[in-house]
């Protein structure tokens, strides 16, 4: 399979995969490698610059924020929040979307029409307005952000699962499985799902990037993760007042966010090529 990949697709898989992998590793190891407690305030050492700027403090390689909290530690713990929200969102929306899409795509007829109507309805719901309403009703919390995103970001999964299921449905091995006496759940989970999975993995990377960006956007607007949790979007929001005097407070989480999302998208591109190549017979 890999023999058929173009060098650029290979590079995309390696670069995207290793940056995402490194981020996941850093996030998982945050409690052990972070130099400080990310919640610990020290007003004496507020807004210390990072190591490359004049006046940096030893022990705070990326400086401190406006409350004197260690910026590197908050960045590492923030990666956990971003990836956690991304992962939970993808799992939740994936289950909803793939379930709906496979049901509509396999059954066809009125069920398919119903699924498409639901997808269209979902597409007409503005996400920020829903987030505002939810926050107004329940207040901000990590769980609310994950639920809001997970319950709203499934339409791409549904559309892709539906289309690919419709393609697989007419292959003879599905009919063969029916003749073998296989049950409907068996056919959907063992015969259809493994054959559409490569396409879903590509959607998964896309959704992961979108969820991480949306979390940052919601946190920036004050609709996402509540302070004092270290979220990258929240860090950007809190640094807003200082950005003209100390640009690093906004560029450090911004660059982290940019790098992670870019890596995930590059990985997705590589996976897409892998899927396209692997399925050509």
């Amino acid at each position: 399979m890999s023999g058929r990949l173009t060098p650029s697709a290979k590079a995309a898989l390696v670069i995207g995969g290793s940056v995402l992998g490194a981020t996941v590793l850093l996030a998982l190891l945050a409690p052990w490698i972070a130099p400080h407690d990310p919640f610990l305030q020290n007003l004496d050492q507020r807004l210390a610059p990072p190591f490359w700027a004049e006046g940096s403090l030893s022990g705070h390689p990326l400086g401190t924020d406006q409350l004197g909290r260690d910026y590197l530690s908050r960045l590492l713990y923030g990666a956990r929040i971003s990836l956690l929200i991304g992962a939970v969102t993808v799992i939740l929306s994936g289950m909803i979307g793939v379930g709906l899409g496979m049901a509509g795509g396999y059954a066809g007829g009125w069920l398919d029409d119903a699924v498409m109507i639901v997808v269209t309805c979902r597409l007409s719901i503005p996400l920020i307005l829903v987030a505002l309403t939810v926050v107004a009703l329940t207040g901000t919390s990590l769980v609310v952000v994950m639920l809001t995103l997970g319950l709203l970001l499934w339409e791409r999964f549904a559309v892709v699962a539906r289309t690919t299921t419709m393609q697989v449905r007419h292959r003879e091995f599905i009919e063969a499985a029916r003749l073998c006496g296989a049950s409907l759940p068996h056919i959907l989970l063992r015969e259809v799902l493994p054959n559409i999975l490569p396409h879903l993995v590509v959607v998964m990377t896309l959704e992961l990037a979108i969820a991480i960006l949306l979390e940052a956007a919601l946190s920036f607007l004050g609709l996402g993760v509540p302070p004092p949790l270290p979220s990258w979007g929240l860090m950007i929001a809190e640094a807003r007042d200082q950005m003209f005097f100390m640009p690093w407070v906004i560029t450090i989480p911004g660059v982290a966010l940019f790098t992670l999302v870019l890596a995930i998208n590059i990985l997705g591109d590589g996976l897409r090529d892998l899927v396209a190549g692997g399925h050509a017979r």
Partner: protein, 340 residues
Amino acid sequence: MTALIDEAGPAVSVRGLRRDFVRGGGLLSTHATVRAVDGVSFDVSHGEVLGIVGESGSGKSTLARLITGLLRPTAGDVRIAGRSLAEADRRQRARLIQQVFQDPYSSLNPTQRVRDIVALPLVAQGDVPREERARRVSEMLALVGLDPAVGERYPGQMSGGQRQRVAIARALVLKPRIVVCDEPTSALDVSVQAQILNLLQALRRELNLTLVFISHNLAVVEHIATHVAVMYLGRIVEAAPTAELFGSPRHPYTAALLQSVLTPEPGKGIPRIPLGEGFPDPAAIPPGCRFHPRCPSALPACADASPPLRVDAGHLVECILAPETASREATSQVHAGLGP
């Protein structure tokens, strides 16, 4: 399991089978009903091989899917070993009848190992323990001439002939008595076709199988079938024991089909077939005898009335000319077409 089989009656009994497909029918377009199978009845006795031949669009594959229960008939009834297919649940149906599909590149799930593919009917039965499944899968693979070690492979790592052997092993692992083969060799290389045919022939004798063998290849059908039914636009227009049908075809369509067979001798050229250039369209079936627009010996009456069914000692013909046109002329043409 044995109680499922009624040994006395026919293995497959089809009565008045009809299947319509609705084509189009969007907001602006009109419906077109395609009658793919139109009033088909026949019996296949235990141990027989019924070959079904016909052109593309004659309804052969639809008939196969109706017999196995993959499609529900619009009207009519299929009985397998005395049981109505409509009443059998999925597990019983799997034990009664299985199908070998046309294209082994499409009929095997590319994401599963061969051993899981062959074991699927056993898994679906729900009451076969794991060790017995493994044992029977190995047995089956050996029976179809594969090394049981190929069980670890994926279909993508096998040749077309090997894949079709896997498909046959899957169809036989529940020891069904009836197997429908829908063009099982037409997707294979010529060199492999004979191997698969001989394998089916050998398995049929060994396991006392009843086969319904669908093909557009007359030579293949003549080789394997004990009885042959000729389909034209959804109806069986002629059915007889193989030797008799190939020796003295009574329907003008059968005669023309046999004439269309290419001879292996290069000097003879492509045979001329008196059927014209038209293609039969199942969405617009002609009135009267459905074959009359292409029939070389059509009478004026053929356009008005459906032809009568004439039965003579197991030889069924649907043609107004049937009794007298077991025709000298047609027969001699056939011989001319088939060889020296």
